[in-house]
Symmetry: D2
Subunit: 362 residues, 4 copies
Amino acid sequence: MGNSLGKLFTVTSFGESHGRCIGVVIDGCPAGLPLTEADIQIELDKRKPGTGVASTRRVEEDKVEILSGVFKRRTTGAPLCLLIWNKDTDSSAYERIKNLLRPGHADCTAAMKYGGFNDYRGGGQFSGRITAGFVMAGTVARMLLGIIGVEILAHTVEIGGIKTKSAGLPALRKADDNPLKCADPAATARMLKAIEQARLEGDSLGGIIEGMALNVPVGLGEPVFDTLEGDLAKALFAIPAVKGVEFGAGFSAAKMKGSENNDTFIIKKGKIQTIGNNAGGILGGISNGMPVVVRVAVKPTPSIGKTQNTVNIKTMESAELDIRGRHDACIVPRAVPVVTAMMAIVLCDFALRAQLIPEVLK
Amino acid sequence: MGNSLGKLFTVTSFGESHGRCIGVVIDGCPAGLPLTEADIQIELDKRKPGTGVASTRRVEEDKVEILSGVFKRRTTGAPLCLLIWNKDTDSSAYERIKNLLRPGHADCTAAMKYGGFNDYRGGGQFSGRITAGFVMAGTVARMLLGIIGVEILAHTVEIGGIKTKSAGLPALRKADDNPLKCADPAATARMLKAIEQARLEGDSLGGIIEGMALNVPVGLGEPVFDTLEGDLAKALFAIPAVKGVEFGAGFSAAKMKGSENNDTFIIKKGKIQTIGNNAGGILGGISNGMPVVVRVAVKPTPSIGKTQNTVNIKTMESAELDIRGRHDACIVPRAVPVVTAMMAIVLCDFALRAQLIPEVLK
Amino acid sequence: MGNSLGKLFTVTSFGESHGRCIGVVIDGCPAGLPLTEADIQIELDKRKPGTGVASTRRVEEDKVEILSGVFKRRTTGAPLCLLIWNKDTDSSAYERIKNLLRPGHADCTAAMKYGGFNDYRGGGQFSGRITAGFVMAGTVARMLLGIIGVEILAHTVEIGGIKTKSAGLPALRKADDNPLKCADPAATARMLKAIEQARLEGDSLGGIIEGMALNVPVGLGEPVFDTLEGDLAKALFAIPAVKGVEFGAGFSAAKMKGSENNDTFIIKKGKIQTIGNNAGGILGGISNGMPVVVRVAVKPTPSIGKTQNTVNIKTMESAELDIRGRHDACIVPRAVPVVTAMMAIVLCDFALRAQLIPEVLK
Amino acid sequence: MGNSLGKLFTVTSFGESHGRCIGVVIDGCPAGLPLTEADIQIELDKRKPGTGVASTRRVEEDKVEILSGVFKRRTTGAPLCLLIWNKDTDSSAYERIKNLLRPGHADCTAAMKYGGFNDYRGGGQFSGRITAGFVMAGTVARMLLGIIGVEILAHTVEIGGIKTKSAGLPALRKADDNPLKCADPAATARMLKAIEQARLEGDSLGGIIEGMALNVPVGLGEPVFDTLEGDLAKALFAIPAVKGVEFGAGFSAAKMKGSENNDTFIIKKGKIQTIGNNAGGILGGISNGMPVVVRVAVKPTPSIGKTQNTVNIKTMESAELDIRGRHDACIVPRAVPVVTAMMAIVLCDFALRAQLIPEVLK
């Protein structure tokens, strides 16, 4: 249980890293949305490993298939099943280390929770690969949000302690083309070096991703419990390796005074807006019309080349672990489209709850 | 909608700051738990305004009443309704400023979302007072978790930029007695001064609260979407003023290398444990048996004494706002028992989902 | 758990027959609905015991109180808590027989499910009295449905094997004034006699209630699982004593041929309608614009005056049971407004899901 | 939305009659259940069209594939995706009549609800074929229930007005082998004739199916809303063509007196049982340990050979409809394994809610 997300736009995830496929079912997609496999493929390709230093060497075609819910190139109102088949799944590396708990991974908790029946190959459903399904679902959500003008952007703002300079919208919109999904070319160069250095050391780096939703209508969020912050955070923590989420000024708000942190209301173009956006576009758990801004802390990939001390869960003795396999020295860039996807899923769900997207699109 | 939290231990919130009452219904509490109003009152009193500098001057008795679900001093398995009556509700201050949007508050978003029908007095359901209900529900959850040995602590670790030194368990357990719910007496003294200074300036301070759950069984959390981090974060963001949530090393993990951030597995007392706890007790979205550690950023109270520029939502013109009323210069200490409560609600829900708390207690 | 109903219009029930109160929380009621306690009281009074032969002798004032969610006589968008206090609760009769399982009642299953911790006085939450909460919630739902023109009627069509003749709409609309909520005066007379006879024998009668929703928009129901029939049936089975539910031709459809049972489509007043309504207004689990017609089988009240053989759950020996207390010889008429209420709750939920009722009413 | 069923054992349905596949995702299946495709195939084959008179002529291999959630022939705790591919999908017949509303079908409601974007070929997701997914999920549920000894049987008790004689358990257990899933050979012969006669007339027959669950533990069901009757009924109404559901004495209880309908409690083999089972094994919405007995009214298949008057939804004019295609003269026998499946899904969900099936099977 726990594999469904969303109340009206409901995404159910299934599949494993080294099983037959990765897929999602989307229940609640309005009827009439033009949708082809190509629409989804574009987004899916963004989270593919690149050829650069940051990427894993697993080569997957990852061609999405729409199994249901689309007829004559339009959604029908029935559930969508979207799926990619696993092909390049050499699991031999995992057989060798299957009893050695990889530090920082879900091996230990999964084995204990599921009585050892979990699919340990590549981490099973705990693999980052599961996020391919999130991206597929997120693409549909983004298309729905596009109807009401919402735009979602995400980009890398920190890797290995190297921070980017703040960038304007045009630069942010081009971040997708950057090898690190970063809007700051100078920082990118330094980040790439740091990643290469980490790789050479058999180590890995983490970072911070910023997500931003523009043109969000006022009124998304359903307090007191289904706040916009809360549901976004829940969705973002489903991305493996995320350990922190903050909105607007976030943790730095804790250091401000009220007079500094309060965003002053003004009238601009006949609308109520704020000067500054310490609130990250959310007041009282509800979108206020300003950009929704979230930052997500991604821990360094736990799979590293260095030999690590660990425990053999079978013998319950200490052991040395030497992971080979194919791994990212820095997962951050590949997580960027996943952040976008999770934001889209949550915002789409709230837009449906607020009746801002119709059940049938004309 | 959006006023229920939890899948098996389900808390539904109702009530407003200046309405008749604040209450919760708990559905899914196992039968047989000894429960009296006194059990809940103890916790509820912790979030009461103190007499110190940090507190509001609203004087509420806040006597909890159990309206249903308890018979012969034991829970029956039927829903619990817990409630406090509002008594000291002078709403005149709010009538005066009802069209002036208080910066940093939900006035604007609530008015726009609910078409102006929302109860604006004291912020209605957006008031911090709603968290009294969270604490009532959290107390029941904590009692249930107590059965399986889980202990939950929370304490202030930062106010106005002043950080505490790390403290041992004995000090943390005593933090409840500290006026700022802080385990570091030296820091407390400086924080109190800073709060007093802010109050004199008609300003307010934010801070950071750390929550900790000890003796958490392995296996709480239901990935891929209902992760322990995700559901905790969602619950914590329901606390008004929370703008960030991080687990274990959190945002600082983003700066570490994998070899630094990975917690090494070891065998200790026949159990698998880790050296260090950068994971905050959670791997793969599932508790790993180490303490669950979360930090929560609380923004400075938006209600400040200083005159602020804002907008009159009726005339759609700019206006000056001069809040009088009764307000906290620093809400952080009062939010500490609420952090505990939200952690308890989520952990209890997951413990029931993992069948670790029986449906009938003997 | 299991005490909430509805996805967007969510009703959570609490309270017990001989506890402090009976109440509901409604989450998801749109903002702006004019609502006073008097609106609800009218409906609530319909399920009150009458002075006639069919009724119990428990005398309850049952004055509804709105505890939250209404401000300036309009709903606010926040959860509504509606409640009646129990006053006339003499539980001594239940103490005497608390270990004697009343045949046909929930005593046995409740005691075993909840480990004996259940509130056995008056059946606790298994009492028919819990349906007062259903009626309160149903009234709000009916008011919302009224906005889109939906009208819901229910009436007694059979008691003790005595069937009514079919009646036209004007008669059905007056059934509320009939002591048995029956639209056929001749049948009513015979039913009253039968009920009086049963009472004299220390026995009870069951019957059948027909519910009808008129002017239902096309498109309510969310197959494949949340069908209109399915969700209506689920809600109706929550009424204690209901043992069967059928739509349109129902069980008699099983005896027809397809050519007889199929309702022919025609164009009438520019709309697609059907000749006949064997489908009960529902095709494919979705309303088709014809009247939604449901029939509900109500078993005879299990509490009877006759001495019954049973089991003492404490001694696990056979025993004789002699129920005194206050009981209905026929519960059917009092269940009629509850049928209306449950239909309203479900239809309102589906109307919100289909975005036919706005989130904010102007 | 509306395509998921169950709280802890959650079945999500997808697929269409003439799309690529029919599938389900099961979230919440405990880890460690031995499961192969062959286990599911056996049940799936039971709902296949036979070669007899009652059956359609569509020939589908319907080979189930397990796409996820099973590793080393055991369930892993991760979601199961089960699927059959559609192969024999000649949709030309549907193109011809796509604007002609088939009486008794979902064509009209689906077209209007989904704005004409629905997949009309073979009824899309409204096809009886969707129940293949229900059977796949039901098989897993039955295997889980088997662990705690629950046995589920279903059989035909009426077709075309021809009723069966009541049969003992041995006969009921063999009903699967009967061409009409009927335990009464004499009635079967007459039913077969009636079906053949209906087919010759270009007509169809309905009937009644009885489902029975044996050895059900006491305590399944979560009142007040999630009653065992209510959730079973909801699940059963998801089977296309079901128009009525009753438990135990059902509608005939409405004609009884309380003294007749009440099942007397007795002690038998040290357990509390009842003489008679008018309650159908359910009191207060909770299983009482007696067999759970439900009867389901199935309307005659709406697709008939006879020419029917109807409406052309495009031209909004009256029209004649002449369905050719491949259709069952009586769907009842094929619905029998679906009744079993729906009962299993609901009982399994409640058994998990009552913690009677562990999260990990050893």
